[in-house]
Amino acid sequence: MAELNIAQAINSALDTALAADERVVILGEDVGRTGGVFRVTDGLRQKYGADRVVDTPVAESGIIGAAFGLAIAGMRPIAEIQFLGFSYPAYDQIVNHVARIRNRSNHRFTAPMVIRIPFGGGIGAAEHHSESTEAIYVHTPGIKVVVPSTPRDARGLLLAAVEDPDPVIFLEPIRLYRAVKEEVPDIYYKVDIGPLRVEREGTDITLISWGAMMRETRQAAKKLTEEGVSVEVLDLRTLSPLDRDGIVASVEKTGRAVVVHEAPYTAGVGAEIAATIQERALYSLKTPVRRVTGWDTIFPLKRSEHHYLPSVERIVAAAESALED
């Protein structure tokens, strides 16, 4: 057991995976010599060599396509894309190849690989460094999408992703990399891909989120609790496959839900969650599911960022309006 933040927990999972399975290789821009722009792969090249922790040219399609070939031929590649906004040049490889080879070959060839991508805003970054476009990958059949919000989940989900027989996109909340620490077991353990985690139990309202927005969601839950509301908080952890049963079970109990995400409102994952709830728990719903999300705008630069990101206040206000019904 050690007190680790999320960046360290991921680093420890990568270390464990490299040590446990010699088929594991890491590749990506700057993952080697400098240990990644967020230092998440720090020290791994020194420990496992330049053949297993590989710096690559600036070519995202190449990184994913090469990892895909590596995976088909029996390796267990972990590819890193520096920011989610830089995954788009690799979009074709991910959607048209990585997600499809099992189907195309009727199980004969598979691509067990992990694509690690830091994502999300809130650090006053330059354009393209703040994206939260998880919805485009959730809408893609054939890949799983995982998003930890705690160090313990980060390590366990990453080890599960590396072992998974199918491709997994592993989204890392930049804003939380160094924001939270907790005791993380150093034994080899996995957190299942799929099930959400009920982070706090309650009966009046369900708050649903994932990734970096868990922080504001937790704070909102705390505030509401102080106001006497019994709040249930769900950390989805996996966005694809979505734990519909877990979501529905909670809302059947509480009758109210607020979904929180950074991505734009229209056609974000929040839409899927709201649609699912009304589909399967309409008669339990006391009030519409609220979505507290980013706006349908480009993620703004530093000076406007606070206008864009869902705030604790917006979450609380949405919950309060839901509680009025």
Binding site: G62, G69, I72, N103, R104
Partner: protein, 339 residues
């Protein structure tokens, strides 16, 4: 341009293949052409989906595959049926695929041919990853990727070539320059003198070979394969050839190209020159030719019969093919479709 057999069947140089090997190459090209013809006919009868004929490119495809060893990887295109077949992809699965059945992509264990890529360009880098894996594992397997002239315009060509060069992966890049990307002629696609020239940009050897000369292609690919197995990295081979037929059975080449050009290439037919060469050595007879065609026909007809007897896919298969284990969501949807 590297070439060994002239269009009239005379040779430039001693051929590095035995007469038996030569006959095998010829027989394979004949079989491929029978497949091609039948595939077009079956498409016309509505039994097969749109088909991309390779007529004219048999030498490039059979020659390349003949240079490979069992276990080597192949990543080609929708037009590479002859290449894939020669590398181990059974006709029956190729045909099953063309009936619109994903099970056609399920190659026999041990045959390391990827189901053909339909997107142009995306698959070249896969052959870099495949070869890289073999290098890391310490085997002597290599990977060959085949693609068209048109594909060299895609950014993915550039990234694949560069990765292969940078990591010195045992990869062979085989470009079948067949003159056209659908209706867009190769002369307009690029201003480089040749496609082989593009290798300069990656510090990689680039070889230009007569793609209608099966032995020249065989030799070029074999040399590239040797280099790759010896750890000397990738090679780009431009096989200059011609697409005699339409782009696909849905295409009408009369809209964009001159019959004169087609007629010119007709003279350069890859099968004819080998037949003439064999004739000259007394190794060809009409009787043998008839046997070859009849046997190929019957093998392919068997394959067709088999493919057409495969029961229609179950709806459940569609869901089961997504992951090793169905997700709850897919299980639910599979139940729903069963009503």
């Amino acid at each position: 341009m590297f070439n060994l057999i002239n269009p009239d069947g005379t040779v430039r140089d001693r051929l590095p293949v035995t007469l038996e090997e030569m006959k095998r190459l010829y027989a394979d090209m004949v079989e491929a052409r029978v497949y091609d013809d039948k595939s077009i006919a079956m498409q016309r009868q509505g039994r097969l989906a749109t088909y991309a004929p390779f007529r004219g490119q048999e030498a490039a495809q059979i020659g390349a595959a003949a240079a490979l060893q069992a276990g080597d990887w192949v990543a080609g295109t929708y037009r590479d049926a002859a290449l894939n077949w020669k590398a181990g992809y059974p006709w029956r699965l190729l045909i099953l695929g063309r009936t619109g059945d994903e099970r056609g992509g399920q190659l026999p264990e041990g045959v390391n041919v990827l189901p053909p890529s339909i997107t142009v360009g995306g698959h070249m880098i896969h052959a870099v990853g495949l070869a890289w894996a073999e290098k890391l594992k310490g085997t002597d397997r290599i990977a060959l990727t085949s693609f068209g002239d048109g594909a060299t315009s895609e950014g993915d060509f550039h990234e694949a070539m560069n990765f292969a060069a940078v990591y010195e992966t045992p990869t062979i890049f085989l470009c079948q320059n067949n003159g056209w990307a659908i209706s867009y002629p190769v002369e307009e696609q690029t201003r480089s003198e040749t496609i082989a020239d593009k290798a300069v940009a990656y510090g990689m050897p680039g070889i230009r070979v007569d793609g209608n000369d099966v032995v020249a292609v065989l030799v070029a690919v074999r040399e590239a394969a040797d280099r790759a197995r010896r750890g000397l990295g990738p090679t780009l081979i431009e096989a200059v050839t011609y697409r005699m037929g339409p782009h696909t059975t849905a295409d009408d080449p009369g809209r964009y190209r001159d019959e004169a050009q087609v007629a010119e290439w007709e003279r350069l037919d890859p099968l004819v020159r080998v037949r003439k060469l064999l004739e000259r050595s007394g190794a060809w007879s009409q009787g043998w030719q008839d046997d070859l065609e009849r046997e190929a026909s019957s093998r392919i007809e068997e394959a067709v019969a088999w493919a057409e007897s495969v029961p229609p896919p179950e709806p459940a298969d569609m869901f089961a093919r997504m992951f090793a284990e169905m997700t709850p969501n897919l299980r639910e949807q599979a139940r729903e479709i069963h009503g």
